[in-house]
Subunit: 415 residues, 2 copies
């Protein structure tokens, strides 16, 4: 790298000033141009990605990792589509969040503005490179990308194409920058740039996120994974409940909004648990039950205390019988991670109580936990799902990468 | 203290659950009851405060500090009024911030909820005790107060009265707690309670705030003071500009939104600077000027480079002549603290450009910097003015002490 991380950060800060003055139309034009440039460089991109994948394979990188690294035709199409979608979304910048004329004549308004400079630290998947750039640029932020070292060649092509696109749209090339170095030390350098970077978003395992959060003064949007629950209430439609539970657990097991613990009301247990066992056996999911579950399903693995705090990210489901709504909510408060928790019920009162009292980023009623996320909430591309309560909670899209400013217009107003 | 700080934090977390289930009417009732209780215990409060002031005086505490510690009749009336005002404000909890039915039938909404547990570390002024409790309770948060050790007796009476009030309203007494110990070690204990506390708000000098932010994993809302600017544009109404500048600088000098640096357009300098000198002489404010200011006002103190980064909080004003709007904005970007900055102009284009490009929590047009704040923005009681860009920026009132949750209601929706 013939440029320091600090210089990259300074350039990003300068670019963010130009972006703050750019119109939403100009930013949308840049996003559309990015999509077009990606199509233009497709051959070069695929060749670079093939080379990255081959090198990683030679280095003995495991197969699931190689899979995440590869840009397939499907993923390429998705990358282009996400950029076009971002271009078409309403502008998150310049929204009037509040406005009032005070009795003194002072006109006060609260207007959404870009955060400034966003840095994203992530691992293999090259689609994060374009997704993150799309969300950041949509919200008027300059972005610094630090992808996995295995995807350097791929990212080099992607970022060059995106830089050409933003330049065509009249924005600084440094709107989108990436750290073109396999060295881990550059991450440490990045964490020191609190003078220039407004927010850091680490995407990856819990250890990466903790390490980042503990070693920087830059605010970090944390995206810890989820210990997600469904509670099957006594009043639940058991057929619907079964479909939702199976989908929540098995549609994809290794993701943060997959189901990890099922709570079944004692009044529903005798009917529901045998249905659950049959369905989960078919899907190859191991059940681990509390004592009361074992009374009904004696052949399954007994759950230990540790199971209730476990995020399996695997075809395992812990199951507990609870005495009603209060016990379910209490269990979630004690063992949940505040990510996504749902209830299956036909009772309006129970749905109301559960959604009011469960303190999680997403609270669902009669819906799969897999639906908690940007796409299914109509937000388009997101850079992750925040488990923080300050600033952004849940999916982080363009609106969540905004701050605001207060503007007060007077006519010589004094205090 | 016969209770540990951790126990206080656990109790606050438990109280926050009860608060999440309480209605806005119940919280408003508690706030009104607090105001009434304050009136009921007025004699005891005044006696306790007299004792605190006398003890501080004996300990040689300086006069300005004693002044902040004293609960005068005026301050007492203000404390009661703020509680009543908070009761009457619209409920910040349960606002629908966004709502949509997706094509799949999933009904998605984003609802404001309390943050949970708020801890406030502050110094002498006892009115912070009631103000902070008012803002926290209005937004459904449990609050832990750590006031200055000199005000322990006063705070003991205040907190007991507030606890009786919340109990009368059917809320846990532990909704409002304070750390009844003069030991500094309790602050260190408080900083460790990241399991139970959602946000820390330190109110005081920069060193206190930095020390807190660097020694805790709890998110901190930082309220650094301000290096505030006014820019007198060439087009400004100079008479209005003078009134606004004098008010910005002198209405109160020791506060975060007082003016510290004045930028004067070169086209206005020759007319404006002599007027400024006369007015500031009258108010006893020392001017420190750049070379170009000294050409017009040769008798004032020359400004050094360090002056542009100085927050005087004193009757001193640094003054610089700039070549137009761009140089003014550039100066503010380089030397400002992102707190409050204003322009004095009659040009719509200049006002537009300045408000768009200056990246500060409050940007003012033809108004005193002293107006940036909760009261003059119509927010009622606030717990401070945030200089962060994430979460809350500018005045922190009840809405800013809220997070949100996503609620998604389906009818068996799967992914």
């Amino acid at each position: 790298m013939n440029i320091t991380v600090e210089q990259i950060a300074i350039q990003a800060r300068e670019a963010s000033r130009a972006l703050a003055a750019a119109s939403g139309a100009q930013r949308a034009k840049a996003l559309d141009a990015m999509a077009q440039k990606l199509l233009d460089v497709k051959d070069a991109l695929m060749a670079a990605n093939d080379a990255d994948v081959a090198a990683a394979k030679n280095n003995g990188v495991p197969a699931p990792f190689l899979k995440r690294l590869a840009v397939t035709e499907k993923i390429f199409a998705y990358m282009v589509k996400r950029l076009r979608e971002a271009a078409a979304l309403p502008d998150p910048v310049g929204r009037v969040l509040f406005g009032r004329t005070m009795p003194t004549g002072l006109k006060v308004s609260k207007i959404s503005v870009p955060l400034g400079v966003v840095a994203i630290i992530y691992e293999a998947r090259p689609n994060v490179t374009t997704d993150a750039a799309a969300v950041a640029l949509k919200s008027g932020n300059a972005v610094i990308l630090r992808g996995g070292s295995e995807s350097l060649g791929t990212n080099r092509v992607l970022v060059k194409a995106m830089q050409e696109a933003v330049t065509e749209a009249g924005l600084p090339a440094t709107t989108v920058q990436f750290i073109d170095s396999p060295e881990h030390s550059v991450v440490n350098e990045l964490l020191k740039q609190d003078k220039y970077i407004d927010v850091l978003i680490p995407r990856g395992g819990k250890s990466l996120i903790s390490a980042v959060a503990q070693n920087t003064r830059i605010p970090v949007l944390k995206h810890y994974n989820g210990i997600c629950h469904q509670y099957v209430a006594a009043s639940a439609d058991l057929k619907m409940a079964l479909d939702v539970v199976v989908n929540s657990k098995t549609e994809r097991v290794e993701v943060c909004n997959a189901l990890e613990t099922l709570l079944v009301d004692e009044a529903a247990a005798r009917s529901f648990l045998p249905m659950l066992k049959t369905a989960m056996d078919e899907k190859g999911v191991e059940l681990r039950g509390c004592k009361r579950v074992l009374e009904i399903l004696p052949d399954i693995v007994p759950a230990t205390e540790a199971d209730w705090d476990e995020e399996y990210l695997a075809p395992i489901l812990s199951v507990r019988v609870v005495n009603g709504l209060d016990e379910a909510i209490e269990h979630i408060a004690r063992h949940g991670s505040g990510h996504t928790d749902g209830i299956l019920t036909t009772s309006l009162a129970e749905a109301r109580e559960f959604t009011a009292r469960v303190d999680s980023a997403s609270v669902l009623v009669n819906a799969s936990t897999r639906l908690s996320g940007g796409g299914d909430y109509g937000m388009g591309a997101v850079v992750g799902i925040s488990t923080d309560k300050l600033h952004a909670r849940g999916p982080v899209g363009p609106e969540e990468l905004c701050s605001y400013k207060w503007i007060a217009e007077g006519n010589g107003n004094l205090r």
